[in-house]
C-alpha cells in the first residue's frame, strides 16, 4: 500500500491565493506538530525540563528551537516544532511538564496556519480584527487571541513593519476564513474579476 496521503483543508483555495498581488500575499503554512501546554507557574526549571523558554509576557510569542512558543494565557501556551512528529512532541513535552504539575495535549491538527505578507495585509486584517495592529503596538513577537471576521484566531506578528503575520485558525473555520480574506483583499487586487 502507498503511504497515507495528507490533505489540507485549503487545497481548493490554492489557485485563488496564487492570484493575489504581492501586496496581499496569502500562503498556507505547512502542517506542524503543536502541543497545547498548561502550566501553573513558570520558573527556571521549565527551561531545564523543556529545553525552551515559555514567554511570560501576555500576548507574545518567541522562537523555540525549530518552532514557536505562543503565550495564550497565564497558564497556557502553544508550542510547535518542525522537527518532531505530533506524537513525539506531545510525548516529550508531556514528560517534561508532568513533574511540574503541567499537562500537554497534541493539537497539531486543531488549527491550520496562514502566512499573510505584503504592504496591504494590515489593511485586510483591519477589516475584521478589532485589535490595534499598528507596528508600534503589534510588532514582531506580538501575538493575540482575537477574532478575524467571525472566526476565532491566534494572530502572530512576524515583522516590525506590520507586513508579515501568521494566522492560526481552527481547521473547520479555515474555508470560511479563506473566503473572508479573499473577499477583504478584493479592493487591493489589481486585476479584479469583473
Amino acid at each position: 500500500m502507498a503511504e497515507l496521503l495528507r490533505t489540507h483543508p485549503l487545497e481548493a483555495w490554492t489557485s485563488a491565493f496564487e492570484r493575489l498581488p504581492d501586496t496581499v500575499r496569502i500562503t498556507v503554512e505547512p502542517f506542524v506538530a503543536t502541543v497545547d501546554v498548561r502550566l501553573g507557574a513558570v520558573g527556571p526549571e521549565v527551561r531545564t525540563h523543556l529545553g525552551v523558554d515559555l514567554p511570560t509576557a501576555p500576548n507574545t510569542w518567541v522562537p523555540a528551537d525549530a518552532g514557536r512558543a505562543v503565550w495564550l494565557g497565564p497558564d497556557e501556551w502553544l508550542l510547535s516544532s518542525t522537527t518532531e512528529t505530533p506524537e513525539e512532541l506531545e510525548a516529550r513535552v508531556r514528560a517534561a511538564v508532568l513533574p511540574l504539575g503541567g499537562s500537554a495535549t497534541d493539537v497539531s491538527a486543531q488549527r491550520i496556519g496562514l502566512r499573510l505578507t505584503g504592504a496591504r495585509v494590515r489593511d485586510v486584517l483591519a477589516k475584521g480584527c478589532s485589535i490595534d495592529l499598528h507596528p508600534r503596538v503589534f510588532g514582531r513577537g506580538s501575538s493575540a487571541q482575537t477574532s478575524l471576521g467571525q472566526a476565532g484566531v491566534v494572530l502572530l506578528a512576524l515583522s516590525d513593519a506590520g507586513d508579515d503575520h501568521v494566522v492560526l485558525v481552527r481547521s473547520s473555520f479555515a474555508g470560511y476564513l479563506a473566503d473572508w480574506l479573499l473577499d477583504a483583499a478584493l479592493e487591493f487586487t489589481t486585476t479584479p474579476d469583473r
Partner: protein, 956 residues
Amino acid sequence: MSTPFRTPAGGRIDRATTLQFTFDGLGFTGHPGDTLASALLAAGRHQVATSIKLGRPRGIAAAWAEDPGGLVQVEEPFPEPMLLASTVELFDGLVAHGLPGQGRLADVPDSARYDAVHHHVDVLVVGAGPAGLTAALTAARAGARVALVDEQSEAGGSLLSGTDRIDGVPALEWVSNAVAELARHPEVLHLQRTTAFGVYDDGFALALERRTDHLGAAAPKEVSRQRVWRLRARSIVTATGAHERPVVFADNDRPGTMLAGAARTFLHRYGVLPGREAVVFTTNDSAYDAALDLHRAGVRVQAVVEARPEAPPHRREECERAGIRVLPGAVVTGTQGVERVTHALVAPFSDGQVGTSSAVACDVLLVSGGWNPAVHLFSQARGRLRYDEGLGAFVPGEEVDGLSVAGSAAGVLDLAGCLADGQRVARETLSALAIDPAADDRLPSAPEPVAPTAPLVLWRVPDTSGAEGATQFVDLQRDATVADIARAVGAGLRSIEHVKRYTTIGTAHDQGKTSGVLTSGITAELLGVPVRDTGTTTFRPPYTPVAFAALAGRDRGSLFDPERVTALHQWHVAAGAVFEDVGQWKRPRYYPEPGEDMEAAVLRECAAARTGVGILDGSTLGKIDVQGPDAAVLLDRLYTNLISSLKVGSVRYGVMCGVDGMVIDDGTVLRLAEDRFLVLTTTGGAAKILDWMEEWVQTEWPDLRVHCTSVTEQWVTFPVVGPRSRDVVGALFPDVNVSNEAFPFMTWRDTSLEGVPVRLARISFSGELAFEVYVSPWYAVAVWQRLLEAGRPYGITPYGTETMHVLRAEKGYPIIGQDTDGTVTPHDLGMAWAVSKKKPDFVGKRSFARQANQDPRRKQLVGLLPVDRQTVLPEGSQIVEFLADGELPPPPVPMLGHVTSSYRSAELARPFALALVKGGRERIGDTVHVPVNGTLVPVEVTGSVLVDPEGARRDG
C-alpha cells in the same frame, strides 16, 4: 431644464462638466460638486415633496442633514428611500423623486459592497471645519495618531459657506493647505464624506464613510460603496459645528422658506441663488451676512425683519449702504402662496405683542432663530447639557472623560474663537495623553469679530392667524405643530420625553435637528417654566440614518455566519450529499442515489447499517482532553455517574446535568491513562461543555490539579456501523484482534495505519456492532477511502445525520436538545441507571431530591407507534387523550406532552416517534391521540427502545 438661478461664476462646482439627472420624471442638469438640492434650486425648484399627514407642499429648507423638508427617493442606480436632496451628491444618471414621508425599499438584492474597518488612534477629531482642522493639525504636528472625519464632500465646514479669510488668505486656501499638511503626516487618517454617527464607551466611535455613492453607476464594483469605520480613540474631539434654528410662525412650511445660513451655503458653495426677492427674518446677527451676500449676488432683499427692538448698529449701517430696508422690532407672522411662498406677512413686535401684519412680496423667506451647537455626540457620551440663556441653546455642561467639544459645537460662534478653541482643546487632549505639542504648532489668525449684539430668544411668533398654532410647524417631517405641543401639555404631559412621544416630534429621519430645541422652548413657554427645567430629549445614535446594509457589511450571503466543515467536506460534496446545518456545521444529511428522495435514501442507509455496514462522518462531535492527577475527580463531580472506576482502555457513557438537575449534555468518556480522559460531547455542546468545565475548575474547585483542552478538531471520527463492521475494521487494521473477546463493547484500542496513529473504540449510537475510528484530520480523506475500500465487499454505505437519528431513535437514545428542552432529568429519560447513588455529590444531585423531581406525573420519554402504521407524526405535535366516554375533554384540551423525534423505520416497517408524555411510563400500552392536519391520529404508547431491546446486536 435651464438653470436660471445659477450664478455666473463662483461656488465649489465644476462648471466645465454637466451632469444629467431626472427628478419627478423631468430632466435637469447640474455639475460635479452639486447636491440634488442645489441642482434643483438652480432650476428654480424649491418644492420637493408633500408632507406625510397633511399633504402640504414641502421644499428644501436647509443645505445639509438638518433639512426637515427635502425628502427624496433615489430610483437609479439603485432604489434607496428616505434620503435628503441636500445630502445626495449629484452624479450623472441620477433618477429620484420627492417623497411624502415614506419611501420604498428595493425589491431586488443590493449588489453593492458594504464593509467595515477597525482603526485605532490617539485622537479622533470629528468635523473638519475651522475648529476641527486646527485641532487635527495640532495633534498631527505633535506626532499623535489622528483620525479626522467630516461628513461633507470636502473639508472646511462653515468656511465653505462664507467669505472668511484666515492667515490673510481666503479661508479655503488655508483649508487646502491644512489638508495637504495633514496628508503629509503618516499617522493621520483623514476621511471626508464620513459621518461619525455614534459615540460609545471607552473612546469607541462609529463613522459611516460614503465611498462611492457620489459616483453613481460609475462606482467600481470591488470598492465598497459605504464603509463603517469602527474607531477606537484614546480621546475624542468633537468639532461638529452648529445647526441654525428656525423660528416658528404660521405657514412656516411653505416651500421657499429656508434657513438663512443655508441660503448662504447655496450661494457660496454651489453658486445658486435661492430666489430673486428675499425677506430675511432674524433674531440674531448672523442672518445679516446672508442678506448682504445675497444682495451682492443680485438678489433683491426686500427687508430684514429684525425681531429685536434695534438692529445691531454696524449691521444696520451695512444694510443702509446696500439699500436694504431693516425693520427692527418686527416679526414674520405667516406666509402667503400655494406651492411657493409669494409674500411674507410682517408685523410690528414688541414685548411679546404682535401688531397688524402687512404682506411683503418675496419668493424666498430666510429665517434665523439662532444657532444650536451640534451636541449630539457629546450627549451620546452621556455628557450633561446646560441651557445657555444668552444663546437660547443647549451647550455642553460638564467635562466628560475622553471627549472634548471644540468650536461652535461648544457655543463659540466666531471664527477666531473657533480656531483658538480648536487648538486649546487639542492641546488639553494631548496633555491628558502625555503627548507634547510640537514647537512649531501655530494658531491660525482670523480678524477679530465685531462684538455681537445679544440675540433674542424667540421660539415662535404668537399666532395671529386664528389657527391657534395648527399651521405653526415645529417638526415638518412629522407634520407636528405648536397646537400638537399645546395638546400634549393640555393632556398633562410635563416631561419633554413624553411630549416627544405624544407629538412624535423629533422621531423622523432628521431626529429633530431643527425641531428638538424648539420643542423644549415652546413646551417651557406653555408650561410657564424655565427652558433649563424642560431640558432636551436624549440624543441617541445614529446621528444621521445608516442603512442596515452598511451595518451588515460583509456578513451576508455565505459570510453571514461561518460555515464549519469537517476534513471530509470535499468528499461529501463530490458524493452528492445533501447537507443540513447543525449549529455552524455543515453535515451531510443523506446521500441520495439517482432518483431517490430523502425518505428512500434514509430507508436504504438505515437498512445498510442494520443488515450490512454503514459509515458516518461523526467528526463534529465535541472532544475535550482532560488531564491531571485530579481528572477523575473532576469528571466524577460533573457527570451524574461514576467515572473514576473506569479502567484505562475502557469507555463509559455519561450524562451531565446543570445545577438544577436537568440534563445539559451526554456522551462517552474514554480513559486514556490514569490521569487522562477523552471526553466526547454532543456536536452543539462542544464549546458550552468546555466552558462549563473551566467555570467549575476556575471558580469553585481551583484546588483540582486538572487541565481541559479542546481537541474537537484534532480528531476525525468515523463510526463504522453494522453487523459487517467487524469484517471491515478487521481487514483494514489486521494487527488488531477485533473479536468480541479481545476487543469488547465499550473499550478502545490504539493501532496505526502506514505509521499513522489510529484509535478504535467499540461505541455504538445505533445499537449495532460498531467501531468508531479516530485519526488526525490530516489523514481523514485517506483513512475514509481505505475504509470504503475495505468495506466494498460488504456494500459499505455512507450515511448521514438523518439515518443516524433514525438508528438512535429506534434504540431510544435521546438527543440532548431535541428530545430534551432543559426541563428533563436523567430519570425522565429512563436513565436512572446513569445516576450514581454512591457518589457523595455531583452537579445536579441536590435537585433530584426535590419533591417535583419525584412526581410520577413528570413528562417521561416514551415511544409512540401510530396505530395506522402509516402516519409520520410531525415533530412538535401535541399529545392528547380521550375521556372515558371516548370524547375529547372540553377546550382547552389538556396537553399530555409532545412528539420530540419522529421517523419512518426500515427495521420496523412503520413510522415511530419518541415523545415526552406526562406519566409516560405508566401509560405504556395505552392509546393516546395526536392531532395531525385536523385529524386525531391514535398512537400506542410504548417503551422508548423499539429495536433490539435486549441489546443482542451490539456485539455482532
